[in-house]
């Protein structure tokens, strides 16, 4: 009983607790700023940021330890919408969003906005089509829903296979990102850094499962949003007098347009659907909307995101929670183009066309660090032309504090933010995978009589095993991290969106239809991916394989539709079950497997 009161006391005081935490964090940053002014070396500051933040996450992880199934799998279903929104924000924003996206926008201009649209718009689909209904369903995992709605383990296993393919691809990319950040800021070899990061991930999630991960993610969101906003807010204030970079970067765009004319750059930053020569291209046009579609539908199909809405107290809160999620995600995403604009303005104004011997300090510093920024005087004229300046997209966010003239402590803060983003996403993914294996495969299929204790042991063991395998694969430095992430989205979209949406919105969907739809959609998508990536198959209609779901999704829908109509309609019990899912109030109608713990 005392446990229950402490837990409810916690929920009632969330605002105060996290308010205190935020204040404490800001105080910590100020302390480190003072330390830097007093001469403490940068390396120590870097270590302080990394180890202190991981220490806090571990502390929260320990405080959230549990031996209760519903707390381990769905955080006890007590997470209020605003905090669940923050946790989802952290879960969503990975190292890719935090570090690479602004850089991607710098390099691609309008073309990169496909990622901005694609990684936000999907939440409308989640809110309207899926979250409230999955919450009413109320079990622990997405394959749970598939197994009940489509009457058996075939659907459940298909769900697990798609979940695993998408989430594992994604987690390898995340672990790789964690390795990069940790190795750069701790100065240790990449292979070692990956396992340090791994430990960071595990301490957050092992003892408390979803309960620990949720509350840690709220803490991580606070750090990552402070870290992301600080450099650009500062730069916006110094350049334009207004601390709202999302409004002031319009002026930067103006300046960029003029600099582009002056420097003779043919591909304008803001021009839509242009190729490298600045000419309109239908291939670019079609790839843009195809990517937007695949990323949005993928958002609404990724189990680690859908799982986040199982943790709210009820259906109404699930809907509100999706709204808060997109709001907190929006805060970062609508700032990313400002990063790109400010960086480009700086580069075009003070770097390109300047004497190579007198480039700004940040350029000189970063060109020393292996491979991220290269300057080569190809024509030996002593002046830097655009083609002689090669910048890795990851630098844009990492170097912004220096561009803004901020002290090193802010660079450390940005590193802590990137680490928070990467750890939170890795935790969410790892939990989704381990929970599917322990709950859907082990408990539901191998040993339905397993005790609570045994189920939790299996869940935790799988967490460690999957994490180690993920780290090992990441250690092989697979190429194309953003590509891998986009593939994960397409695989999930092609395999899961049709059975989930049709299962809720079309009562006539039959089990056979859904299962065949899942397999064919996922199969087509996977085929396109592998054939174009490893076997040099030419692209279909010029659509790049980061949008493979463009082909897989329609196949999934059509096959599900046709086969459902060809097979016997679902039973009256199943139709009543779907009706009860569509009604927030009241119990679920009975079908086999619908009663949960």
């Amino acid at each position: 009983m005392a446990q229950a009161t402490t837990r409810s006391g916690f929920i009632a005081n969330l605002g105060k607790i996290y308010g205190g935490y935020t204040g404490g964090f800001i105080f910590f940053v100020i302390l480190l700023a003072i330390a830097e002014q007093m001469g403490v070396p940068n390396k120590i500051i870097g270590y302080a940021f990394v180890f202190l933040t991981i220490g806090v996450y571990a502390y929260i992880g320990i405080l959230s330890r549990t031996s209760e199934l519903s707390e381990y799998y769905v955080a006890g279903r007590v997470v209020p919408p605003v905090f669940n929104g923050m946790a989802t924000g952290a879960d969503w924003m990975s190292a890719a969003s935090f570090i690479s996206m602004a850089g991607g926008l710098y390099l691609a201009g309008y073309g990169g906005l496909g990622y901005v649209l694609g990684w936000t718009g999907g939440y409308v689909l989640v809110a309207v089509l899926l979250a409230p209904y999955l919450r009413k369903f109320g079990q622990f995992t997405v394959p749970d829903f598939l197994g009940v709605r489509y009457e058996g383990n075939t659907a459940r296993v298909c769900g697990v296979i798609v979940l695993f393919s998408a989430s594992f691809t994604y987690i390898v990319a995340q672990t790789f990102g964690i390795g990069i950040i940790t190795s750069r800021f701790l100065g240790i070899p990449f292979e070692v850094a990956i396992f340090v990061g791994l430990l960071g991930i595990l301490v957050c999630s092992m003892l408390g499962g979803m309960r620990a991960v949720t509350w840690t993610q709220v803490a991580q969101y606070i750090i990552l949003i402070i870290a992301y906003l600080t450099p650009v807010v500062w730069l916006s204030t110094t350049l334009y007098g207004l601390p709202i970079p999302e409004l002031t970067y319009g002026q930067a765009l103006n300046e960029i347009a003029e600099l582009e004319k002056k420097l003779g750059i043919v591909k304008p930053h803001v021009a839509a659907y242009v190729d490298a020569k600045g000419q309109f291209s239908w291939v670019e046009f079609h790839n843009f909307w195809a990517l937007v579609l695949c990323l949005m539908v993928g958002t609404a199909s990724l189990p680690h995101i859908l799982m986040r809405y199982f943790t709210t107290p009820n259906v109404r809160d699930a809907r509100k929670s999706v709204a808060w999620s997109i709001f907190f995600i929006f805060l970062l995403y609508f700032t990313a183009p400002a990063y790109a604009a400010f960086a480009k303005r700086e580069v075009y104004r003070d770097v390109i066309g300047q004497q190579i011997s007198s480039l700004p300090a940040w350029v000189q510093n970063w060109s020393q660090v292996g491979g991220l920024l290269t300057i080569k005087d190809g024509n030996s004229d002593g002046i830097l032309q655009l083609s002689e300046f090669v910048i890795n997209q990851d630098i844009i966010v990492l170097s912004m504090p220096e561009i803004a003239g901020l002290p090193y402590v802010i660079s450390g803060l940005v590193a802590a933010g990137g680490l928070a983003a990467a750890l939170s996403t890795a935790d969410g993914l790892l939990l989704a995978i381990a929970n599917a294996l322990s709950h859907d495969i082990y408990f539901k299929m191998i040993d339905p009589k397993a005790s609570t204790v045994r189920r939790l042991v299996v869940a935790r063991a799988l967490l460690v095993i999957v994490a180690i395998i993920g780290a090992a694969v990441a250690g092989t430095r697979p190429a194309g991290i953003i590509q891998m992430v986009a593939w994960a989205f397409s695989l999930a979209a092609a395999g899961l969106f049709a059975p989930l949406v049709l299962g809720i919105w079309w009562k006539r969907t039959t089990s056979t239809g859904a299962i065949l739809g899942m397999m064919s959609g996922f199969g087509v998508c996977l085929y396109y991916l592998i054939a174009t990536r490893y076997f040099d198959m030419p692209l279909w209609f010029g659509i790049r394989n980061i949008s493979s779901a463009l082909f897989g999704m329609p196949v999934a829908f059509i096959v599900t539709w046709v086969v459902s109509l060809m097979t016997a309609p679902p039973s009256k019990e199943m139709q009543d079950f779907v009706d009860s899912i569509r009604t927030p109030k009241g119990d679920l109608a009975w079908v086999r497997g619908s009663q949960h713990e």
Binding site: Y110, L113, G114, V116, L117, T120, G121, Y123, V124, L125, A127, V128, L129, P132, E246, L247, Y249, G250, Q251, A252, L253, N254, V270, A271, A272, Y273, F280, F288, W289, V292, L293, M296, N314, V315, R316, R319, K320, V322, A323, I326, F327, F330, Y333, F334, P337, D579, R582, T583, P584, K585, G586
Partner: protein, 87 residues
């Protein structure tokens, strides 16, 4: 509180579906129709922002946040109207 009659249940679902289609139509508009005209919209510049670029970078994002909050409150109203909102 008595469960809904089949007629009420159908009415509830029909209103829910109509809200869903409305929101989906607006989502589609901001995600695909507006970006389809980005080249033309870019000719309009407000506060330094070419309009086509602005929508993809910020305008459509704002619409998503609004749509999600609107969905939460509008659907809740529908649920309350039919007595199926949770306590």
């Amino acid at each position: 509180m008595a469960a809904m009659t089949p007629a009420q249940r159908d009415a509830h679902w029909s209103k829910t579906s109509r809200l869903m289609w409305t929101i989906m139509a607006l989502w589609f508009f901001f995600s695909f129709i507006i970006p389809a005209f980005a080249v033309q919209l870019n000719n309009i510049v407000i506060a330094g922002f070419p309009l086509g670029f602005y929508f993809a970078a910020q305008g459509s994002l704002i619409s998503y946040v609004v749509l999600c909050f609107w969905n939460a409150s509008a659907q809740n109203k529908i649920d309350e109207e039919f007595g199926v909102a949770e306590d």
